[in-house]
Amino acid sequence: MENSTEKNMEKNTEKNAILFEIEGLCKNFGDVKVLKNIDETIYKGDVMVVIGPSGSGKSTFIRCLNLLETPTAGTIVFEGKNITEKGYNLNFHRQKVGMVFQQFNLFNNLSVMENVTISLEKVKKIAPKDAREKAVTLLKRVGLAEKADAYPSQLSGGQKQRIAIARALAMEPDVMLFDEPTSALDPEMVGEVLQVIKNLAEEGITMVVVTHEMGFARKVASRVVFMDDGKILEEGTPEDIFEHPVHERTRDFLAKVIHVI
């Protein structure tokens, strides 16, 4: 594991670079206030795990980061550029932010290989041959090289999600967003997906992960954020949050999700 310590050192030297600077982020759906004035900074190399009760706004928060949701108010600065400014090129921003969905959302009309290559070819305008080569490498990385010619409908949930991760990695994003990547999976497939994500974290890839997998959060997170009712109530190292939660709400939530028999 000397390799991974080397990577970790790299991670530490880059650590102070700010990736996302979020100020006063609000999101309303009609009259419903879903995000209420969120301030947050995400640094390069962070593995930020977002936890919190259902409906607390975790998905909305993470979707604001690649502007799948348009914030109602507030600013998000990404790598020094205000992406919430009117007229900012969304498609350009999204190339740098990989997204993995709870429901996988693989392109059903395309083979596994094409799922990975399509944005390389159509968005990055990379030659088909080079795109395929790159895709093969990525598929190997998620352990599914042999599925290149399969279609999404022929894959298990865990396989779909690993392909979705490969697809997002293809664009060489500066940060990966995961919105409950294992919640739609049968229990026996959760491990394989978490392992892939863990590997990425060890390689130093910056990520924001919404998850209910507390074991994963404890082991992999560099920072844990607890969201409740559209606000970030509390954040800190896994130890801070899991061993010494400050807020009553955090304690309640953890007591409910961590089952000690």
């Binding site: 969304l90 999204r94 429901q103 009309n109 944005s119 990055k124 279609y151």
Partner: protein, 226 residues
């Protein structure tokens, strides 16, 4: 039997009428599909004016009888100088406005079919495509439309079947389609019932053949998709 007797004597009228009916139906469906695509795109666009126009268009077409539409198009467009000449013995300056009216009608229904076919594709597909950096048009072209087509084509096939039947109203503009020629045979035989039976059988046969063709086509599509 009267039916056989009349058919053997007048089959020429029926068959020539059928030919016109088929021709008009084919051209109408093609034009209607093209026009329908345009209307559907307007309906789905973010530009308010286009959206409003396409909504109005669909409401008007669906809310008025086709025969009224046919006459309005015919008289409203009579300033156009259509090419002279005939096709299969049908005057172009009459059949063109008919095809226009039918296509405009069909376009409204096809537009709705296309719109709902596109909206039936899971929004997650678009979100994933946009998340990869594709713009709206690319997401539509590479991801959404290829999936929507599978919902849309069978419905357009149905529209084709409907059109074969609905073309019968063009007889009112004196176009010698199946129903018009059917009328001619009635006036010479004074025996309407067998004539209507013959026409019904022909329409039915056309649509059964068409339905079989569409079926084969659909099975092929399914096979190529997986």
């Amino acid at each position: 039997m009267d039916i056989l007797e009349i058919f053997t004597q007048y089959y020429d009228y029926f068959l020539r009428g059928t030919r016109t009916t088929i021709l008009v139906a084919i051209v109408t469906v093609i034009l209607g599909t093209v026009l329908g695509c345009a209307i559907a795109l307007m309906r789905l666009s973010k530009i308010k004016l286009l959206k409003g126009f396409s909504r109005l268009y669909i409401t008007v077409i669906r809310g008025t009888p086709m025969l009224v539409q046919l006459y309005i198009v015919y008289y409203q467009l009579n300033f156009i100088s259509y090419p002279n000449g005939k096709i299969f013995g049908v005057a172009l300056d009459r059949v063109i406005p008919c095809i226009l009216a039918l296509s405009m009608n069909s376009a409204a229904y096809i537009a709705e079919v296309i719109r709902s076919g596109i909206q039936a594709v899971d929004i997650g597909q678009t979100e994933a495509a946009r998340s990869c950096g594709m713009n709206g048009a690319q997401a539509m072209r590479y991801i959404v439309l290829p999936q929507a087509v599978k919902n849309i084509l069978p419905a357009i096939g149905n529209e084709f079947v409907t059109m074969v039947k609905e073309t019968s109203i063009i007889q009112y503009l004196g176009i010698s389609d199946l129903m018009y020629n059917n009328g001619i045979v009635i006036t010479s035989t004074y025996n309407p019932l067998p004539c209507y039976y013959i026409s019904a059988i022909i329409y039915l046969a056309l649509n059964i053949i068409l339905g079989k063709g569409l079926n084969i086509f659909e099975v092929r599509m399914k096979r190529s998709e997986r």
